[in-house]
Symmetry: C2
Subunit: 382 residues, 2 copies
């Protein structure tokens, strides 16, 4: 990358008149996409169950790859030797990779943190590995990531004030080390703001990272069990303070309700396993709320998951058939459910962008809470 050819460009294309929500265009090395954007998760080099052409046809041109999973299997050097992650998995769109930190720090009993980095044992075979800021960038560069994430320490939300403060300081030191080793020509690099639920700490950490030459900033350590209300308090206060000229990414979110809350606070990017994982559990999104396809009320239903839905599942197959596939543990069921749920998320984000452009996000939000968010009873009792 030369000075005249940045790894990432971001332009705001529309703003809400009465709040921080905005639409933008994100130009990566591999293409342009509209924000706010949702990224399907391709944990192990595949968006689970789907062919890359299917992901693209659903309207996605940016997916997330997991550094932790890929470094363990098949290994970053292996993927580099095969031409990088895009070629390996046959994906021509853009890829954002996380730093591996989140997964590693969740291995509470089998990891050891020190200033240099974190040592951990593989969940696959128990082998020992070491992840440092330098190694996290090295791996992401080897994968050929278009948007890399700096290695952060991601403590539990209830870790205590002193731990969170020390963790933010370490994350800042690690952020500087990540920036220092990034090679010219590699992908963009985002920093990750930590600080748990302590908004003073979050503000301070944001100030530190905002002063560093990251192409974008993320909020980490949220949606980790603290509950939607407490997450909303942090996001609503911190997101509007994030540099407005750079993309803002809320990691690991998530629920349509939480995405909408965060967009209204000015967030541009999201990722979550929710649509793909729920699909494999038979939990399907509709605009009237979720349905659980294994529920016996669908046994004789000739209706699609959602009337009027343009997804490949709804275009051809009945709830009765999808229920049958689910009960029979047929892989095709997982595929069709995944296509439907990701289509729902793509359409949801498109609706949000349209509402911002037409400056009616508040009305959109009221509609949403009246329909989708108030009627999830079947999910619980089905």
């Amino acid at each position: 990358m030369s000075a005249s050819e940045p790894a990432l460009r971001f332009e705001i294309s529309a703003r809400e008149s009465s709040g921080p929500a905005r639409c933008g265009r994100l130009h990566t090395r591999r293409g342009t996409l509209e924000t706010p954007v949702f990224m399907p998760v391709g944990t192990a080099g595949a968006v689970k169950t789907l062919h890359p052409d299917e992901v693209q046809k659903l309207g996605f041109s940016l997916i997330l790859g997991n550094t932790y999973h890929l470094m363990l299997r098949p290994g970053a050097e292996r993927i580099a030797g095969l031409g990088g992650l895009h070629r390996f998995m046959g994906w021509t769109g853009s890829i954002l990779t996380d730093s591996g930190g989140y997964q590693v720090f969740s291995l509470q009993k089998i990891r050891h943190i020190r200033e240099e980095g974190v040592e951990f044992r593989s969940h696959i075979d128990g082998s020992t590995h070491f992840l440092s800021p330098e190694r996290a960038i090295d791996i992401q560069q080897k994968l050929g990531s278009d948007i890399m994430m700096a290695l952060d320490e991601c403590p539990p939300h209830d870790a205590g004030a002193a731990y969170h403060a020390a963790s933010c300081q370490r994350t800042t030191r690690w952020a500087a080390r990540c920036l220092a080793v990034r090679r010219p020509g590699s992908g963009a690099l985002f920093g990750i703001v930590q600080g748990g639920l302590d908004r003073v700490l979050r503000r301070a950490h944001l100030s530190e990272l905002a002063a560093m030459p990251f192409e974008g900033l993320a909020l980490g350590g949220l949606s980790v069990g603290e509950g939607p209300e407490r997450m909303a308090e942090v996001v609503s206060e911190i997101a509007p303070l994030m540099p407005a000229d750079r993309p803002r990414y809320l990691m690991g979110v998530g629920e349509p309700r939480d995405i909408l809350m965060a967009v209204r606070a000015g967030i541009d990017m999201f990722d979550c396993v929710l649509p793909t994982r729920n699909a494999r559990n038979g939990s399907l999104f509709t605009r009237q709320g979720r349905i659980q396809i294994r529920n016996s009320i669908h046994a004789g239903s000739d209706r699609p998951i959602e009337e009027g839905c343009g997804c490949p599942a709804c275009q051809r197959f009945s709830r009765a058939y999808l229920r049958h596939l689910f009960l029979s543990n047929e892989i095709l069921g997982h595929r069709l459910n995944t296509l439907h749920n990701l289509h729902f998320f793509a359409a949801f984000m498109a609706d949000i962008r349209r509402a911002i452009r037409e400056d009616r996000l508040e009305a959109f939000t009221s509609d949403f809470h009246r329909t989708f968010d108030s009627s999830r009873g079947e999910e619980r009792f089905g």
Copy 2:
């Protein structure tokens, strides 16, 4: 169906000059297909892992559905209420259904046979069911099958001469009962020749069934553990004696080697779970023999499964990626492997048909044994 509109028409389009092999065109109620034909198995209302459009694009227009599985889940009446099996599973091609007999008779400890039919317990929930010739036809008609199979008794190949003889007699009586209850307008009906490895008994049973108004005849009770040589002895002697103007179907076969042997004996139709099941086990067919994709020799291979293969897996993905998906238990791996193996079978059958039309089936067979069939070492030692 009226007298002028048969449920099935079959015409021979080419014959080998020095043997009983032939090419034909089979016209079902839903379309025309070329024989010799291989039918992918859609056990539970789906060719495992694949969307019906993928099955069609691979070149298949006839698949097999399992009466046993579908009668238990979701049930024949349920499928009938939803418009039949074609609509239920979104398949516009033709469907042949087995009678359920083979699966039921393999439930040795939880079934009871009497003249009226066979009582058995479901492998899913232990519930008791009854399958008679009349019920087998009733179910297949409810599914909307294009080619139905008469209920046969399918003993183990080593059941003993007296048992086999009695079983053939019962199968003939059941065959008559199936013909008696078939409704006008329903699909074609095939009878199933039994007799184990006793060629005298096979000839006698064939004579009985050939005299009945079936639209086609099948050889059942083969490829059930007797070994390829003993199967070949029966098929080579019996298949050429089957009525030449009707399609001949060898049930549950199978191995490319066995398909080729049977085509050379005059068989027109085949079905087997081999390509789809092997795919899910990582065993992939190539013209040079099978490979086991989990083998470590593929870990760094940028090559496709087979050079020059036009299947969706080989067009985009490396052996290294497919190995990674397999080891990661990613559903996409099962899909891509299935696409490849079924493509192999479709191409294999097309090659056989071409060899018959060009009257060079013997040379084709020699080539086949020199390449594919002599080099399956990796499969065993990989």
